[in-house]
């Protein structure tokens, strides 16, 4: 082992983490390929497993709220000292205090960020935060991860809007799911990363066929029968299109993205099914 081998390994690793395939890296270093290949496969497995470690969303919101409160106290301290404050900072602190207030009066700290719905006052804040995160994403894979998360959020909101019988919002959210997933599908064009030598008896799971929508109980009636029928059809088409595209992307995505895509497929499919079920119960009335 020499310093040069370590440099070559690191160079390949960096390229793989950015989405390049192991084969492409090995082509650059044919002499070192036999030594490098198993190490790079192990690295891909490590990266894949590490990316599956995700903090609990409720915990993330709780820490966020705590930091907002700390910022607010800090700000008050500065004000008392007579320091000058930027007006937009003031506005932000007030907005965040509002968020904290809402959290305290019943929405619940953990559910605050996920509970903002398209017709809510906090919703623009939620979208703005997502935009900032997308702008700050450093790599294509990070960007894809965020688009998947956003699509999942929109799909979750779609269910709630359907429950409230708001067809315009459901359609708007369907488009937004499409938009986010369209950006993820770019990943299909990325090079395939080799399967790893890690023991996996079960292998990637075959996805179950899309179940027929179950009848929903205890939800608000959803619009007129015809309108609901058309919406149900649009949702079904969107579900099929998006799930097929996501499954194709899953085969071709870099290893780091695979667990996230797999999870997204399950979540989005469930949300579509719930929405269709709610809309379907409206059209049958």
């Amino acid at each position: 082992m020499t310093g040069k081998t370590e440099d070559i390994f690191n160079n390949c690793l960096q390229r793989i983490l950015k989405g390049e395939s192991i084969e492409d890296c090995l082509k650059t270093y044919p002499e070192q390929a036999p030594e490098l290949e198993p190490l790079l496969k192990t690295s891909a497995a490590l990266a894949q497993r590490s990316s599956a470690i995700q903090p609990d969303p409720g915990f993330k919101v709780r820490v966020h709220s705590q930091l907002q409160a700390m910022l607010y106290d800090k700000q008050k301290e500065i004000e008392e000292r007579g320091a000058k404050i930027h007006f937009w900072y003031k506005g932000w602190v007030l907005a965040m205090t509002g968020v904290l207030g809402l959290l305290l009066i019943g929405v619940g700290t953990a559910g605050a960020s996920t509970s903002a719905l398209p017709d809510g006052t906090l919703y623009p804040l939620k979208l703005a935060t997502e935009q900032v995160r997308l702008t700050l994403a450093f790599s294509d894979v990070d960007k894809a991860k965020l688009h998947i998360q956003c699509a999942e959020h929109r799909a979750g909101e779609m269910v709630e809007m359907a429950r409230q019988g708001k067809s315009d919002k459901v359609l708007m959210l369907t488009e937004q799911v499409d938009n986010h997933l369209d950006k993820v599908h770019v990943m299909e064009e990325m090079p395939v990363v080799e399967e790893t030598p890690v023991p996996r008896e079960k292998g990637p799971k075959a996805l179950a066929p899309i179940p027929a929508p179950a009848p929903s109980v205890g939800v608000e009636a959803f619009g007129e029968g015809k309108e609901a029928g058309e919406l149900e059809k649009t949702l079904s088409q969107s579900r099929t299109r998006n799930l097929n595209a996501l499954r194709n992307a899953l085969d071709k995505a870099p290893e780091r993205l695979k667990p996230i895509l797999q999870q997204a497929i399950e979540n989005i499919e469930q949300d579509y099914n719930k929405t269709i079920s709610i809309v379907g119960s409206g059209s049958n009335q």
């Binding site: 930091l67 937009w88 700050l136 667990p259």
Partner: protein, 214 residues
């Protein structure tokens, strides 16, 4: 106030196409440079007490800090407590942070690194913690898939725990935190060559462990 807002809008109008261009440009290294410059600006604002800027940094680094701490500790609840402490400390200290001495990511991860060291010192135990039986790392509607992922993560943590302390540090920073070699070197106060060697030997050892497990 109105004049100030109009100037701000003007600046945003100039910057937005540039940011969009940077985001869509295909050369990732150029994007990285652009993003570094954007991040520098965000960090500067956070240093001056801009809460929104700090919130952006929080969103950017929260998952990485959590993963790094989790891989080091192997315990979900302890990892949550420590991650929280890292951001509280960062918020308290950011007013004194100097960008020219250390880039932001290594500065933040150095706080995390020190917290982990303090944790083990206070606990008076080796850096080897048994995994909880009922950990929930990956929420999933498919319990079989979630269980499979949790087993994979458990295997990863168990194997990383068997590495030497220095290798464990580097592997956690490179794969858990997703830092570059240069950033990991700055966190640990080592040179890049040493970090590359620790990374190479760490992955080599993990490869052997995975083959043995097989």
């Amino acid at each position: 106030m109105r004049r100030c807002l109009s100037q701000l809008n003007h600046v945003l109008a100039i910057l937005t196409p540039a940011i969009n261009l940077l985001s869509s440009f295909s050369f990732s290294s150029i994007i990285d440079i652009g993003m570094m410059s954007i991040e520098k600006d965000i960090v500067s604002r956070a240093i001056k007490g801009d809460g929104e800027a700090f919130a952006q940094l929080y969103e950017r680094y929260f998952d990485g800090i959590y993963r790094y701490v989790y891989v080091r500790l192997g315990d979900q609840s302890e990892a949550e407590d420590l991650t929280q402490e890292v951001f509280v400390k960062a918020l308290e200290a950011i007013g004194h942070y100097k960008q020219r001495n250390l880039p932001f990511a290594p500065w933040l991860f150095r706080i995390a690194h020190n917290q982990v060291i303090d944790y083990f010192r206070k606990q008076g135990k080796m850096e080897k913690v048994p995994l909880e039986d009922d950990i929930t790392l990956v929420s999933s509607s498919n319990p079989a898939l979630a269980a499979e992922r949790e087993l994979e993560i458990e295997e990863l943590i168990n194997n990383v725990e068997k590495l030497s302390p220095a290798q464990r540090e580097v592997i956690s920073l490179r794969f858990g935190a997703e830092l570059s070699v240069a950033e990991a070197a700055k966190v640990l106060g080592k040179n890049e060559g040493t970090v590359k060697a620790l990374q190479y030997n760490g992955v080599m050892a993990l490869k052997r462990m995975l083959l043995t497990d097989k």
